[in-house]
């Protein structure tokens, strides 16, 4: 699934990556299984799927917070699969992540203004004054008051903290931002403002995004391509139009069909699910069957059922 549309390497390329974690009773969680994807310069790839299907693990593999059990990860054509965390630091200017849990990713003892300015200082991309200026400007762009720069993380609301993390990820002007549920705590107005900022940066600087989200209406609006994950594997991948207009896999259809409509006159009764819950946990030595794909249209891959 490599593409070289403009002769450049993709910003990131994930080749057959797998990751397991230990669980009780000698079992293993097959969090990510044989995932391959790439993201081009200036492109947004959205990753959607069931809670627990491996999206955050995939993100953590790409930033090398986890070691992959199998497969390769290439950043702008450079193999980073075996880099040590210290060696990854050199790539922080290329790759930034907004973690799913904003509180856990901010140092509780550091004023947020300093947290956002820190990467600028570490990478010597700005003088102290320039850094302060840029941080102030970014705060304004994500709708935070300047006076809040001196506050500690616990003094913010959930959505304000999320915006601090967004500002921090954008401060270094990276080439790829992994956004893991990055706008989930924002009201729709602020969300629109922040998403528009992200779109503008993409237009101006060719920024790429790996956008993990449960909000399918937002995904539809901003993604170029969409990958649907289920139990650790990609089960459908295609352009936004292909996946939203012509979903082929039964899980993709189920997901799109479950989006609640923002109109109390169109309520739907959904019966409670009971019985077997699909699971990525396997006894040692066993594992899921690898899916095979059919390309139903150019660029639209669907797992065979």
């Amino acid at each position: 699934m490599t593409s070289q549309s403009n002769g450049q390497s993709p910003v990131v390329e994930v080749q057959g990556v797998s990751k397991q974690f230990p669980a009780d009773h000698n079992a293993r969680v097959h969090a990510v299984t044989d995932v391959s994807l790439h993201i081009d310069h200036g492109e947004t790839l959205a990753v959607v799927g069931e809670s627990g299907c491996g999206k955050s693990t995939l993100a953590n593999l790409i930033i090398r917070l986890h070691d992959a059990d199998q497969g390769r990860i290439l950043l702008k054509g450079v193999d980073i699969t075996d880099l040590k965390p210290r060696e990854m630091r050199a790539h922080r200017q290329t790759l930034q992540i907004i973690f799913q849990d904003p509180f856990a990713s901010l140092d509780p003892r550091v004023r947020v203004g300093a947290s956002v300015a820190e990467p600028l200082r570490v990478h010597k991309v700005a003088t102290k004054e320039e850094a302060t200026d840029r941080v102030r400007h970014l705060f304004e762009l994500v709708g935070l008051e300047r006076s809040m720069l001196n506050n500690y993380p616990h003094q913010f609301s959930g959505g304000q903290r999320q915006r601090v993390c967004i500002a921090r990820a954008l401060a270094l002007k990276p080439e790829l931002v992994i956004a893991d549920e990055a706008v989930s705590a924002l009201d729709v107005s602020v969300q629109a403002q922040v998403m528009n900022l992200m779109l503008e940066l993409q237009q101006e600087m060719g920024l790429s995004y790996l956008f993990i989200s449960h909000d399918l209406a937002v995904v539809e609006r901003i993604a170029h391509r969409v990958a649907v994950m289920y139990l650790g594997q990609i089960i459908e991948l295609g352009s936004r139009e292909q996946v939203f207009r012509d979903p082929r896999h039964s899980y993709t259809k189920r997901l799109l069909g479950a989006v609640p409509i923002a109109d109390p006159r169109q309520r739907t009764e959904r019966p409670l699910l009971t019985g077997e819950i699909p699971s990525p946990v396997w006894p040692a030595g066993e594992g899921p069957e690898l899916v095979t794909y059919t390309e139903v249209e150019p660029g639209h891959q669907v797992a065979d059922e």
Binding site: G158, A185, L186, V190, A262
Partner: protein, 282 residues
């Protein structure tokens, strides 16, 4: 018979007013949706009802009443109660699902333990019974293979699984009022539907009322009976859900509704498209 009545609630942090004269009521069995701007005081309102807002912060509840109707028919102003009384209210009468699960779950205890402990405190049951109940809750919130999961620690679960553990803790005690602060932000829409259905079932069976704080207007449309809209520390509008969606009175509410992204809005467009900003239509 009103279950909870909040009157003129005002909360400040070092002179900054985070909640300004908020008044609303919650009836038994009812779902009150709370929506509005990020930073407008929704979580602070919820934490004030629980009397958790002053803990470890500079918050002061400077005015107001938070009256809870007790089972014996008497009324208790929660703002006047001491910590031991509040602790028993929190266990048995009001449960809260916090906005950020990672910070409210204990990182050094297995998740199953944490659910079982809540059951034990509430029901006084033994270890075996409470663990069985925890396992049952895992199934209900659709976390697979309870046996292999129950001993895991919070950091070994996905964001949405942690959120479901929080929900299980909130539901297992059968509270009279459930305060749920953004309970489904990490859930995909199929599991979200399951969780909302589960809460609905509990409401029908036991008459539990819910105060549901969320940015997801789809969820509000689906489950709320009435809606409170907050902006800049104030309640700017409240009313039945149909009225809020179909004849909102305030410009802020109209702007909010017009900014809701709708599935299917991109048919016929290629490439990403900027969002409408609230106020574009105003």
């Amino acid at each position: 018979m009103t279950l909870l009545s909040v009157t003129d609630l005002t909360v400040t942090f070092d002179g900054f007013t985070a909640v300004d004269s908020a008044s609303f009521t919650i009836e038994p069995g009812e779902t009150l949706g709370v929506v509005g701007e990020s930073g407008s005081g929704k979580s602070v309102t919820a934490l004030s009802i629980m009397r958790l807002v002053e803990m470890g912060t500079r918050a002061k509840i400077t005015r107001g009443r938070v009256e809870l109707k007790m089972q014996d028919g008497s009324t208790l102003d929660l703002l006047g109660q001491d910590e031991p009384t509040m602790r028993s209210i929190r266990g048995n009468q009001i449960a809260m699902i916090f906005q950020e699960p990672l910070t409210s779950l204990n990182p050094v205890y297995p998740v199953g333990e944490q659910i079982a402990e809540a059951v034990r405190i509430h029901e006084g049951s033994d270890k075996k019974t409470s663990m069985a109940r925890a396992r049952e809750m895992f199934d209900l919130v659709r976390i697979p293979e309870a046996d292999k999961r129950i001993g895991q620690y919070p950091h070994e679960m996905s964001g949405g699984m942690r959120q479901r553990v929080m929900i299980a803790i909130g539901l297992c005690c059968g509270p009279r009022l459930l305060i749920a602060d953004e309970p489904t932000t990490a859930l995909d829409v199929t599991i979200q539907a399951q969780i909302l259905g589960l809460i609905k079932q509990l409401q029908v069976e036991t008459g539990t009322a819910m105060m549901l704080i969320t940015h997801d207007m789809g969820v509000i449309a689906e489950v709320a009976d009435r809606v409170v809209v907050m902006s800049q520390s104030k309640i700017v509008e409240q009313g039945p859900v149909d009225q809020i969606f179909h004849s909102p009175r305030e410009a802020y509410t109209r702007g909010l509704l017009s900014a809701v992204p709708k599935l299917g809005s991109m048919a016929g467009h290629d490439g990403p498209r900027p969002f409408n900003l609230a106020g574009d239509l105003a």
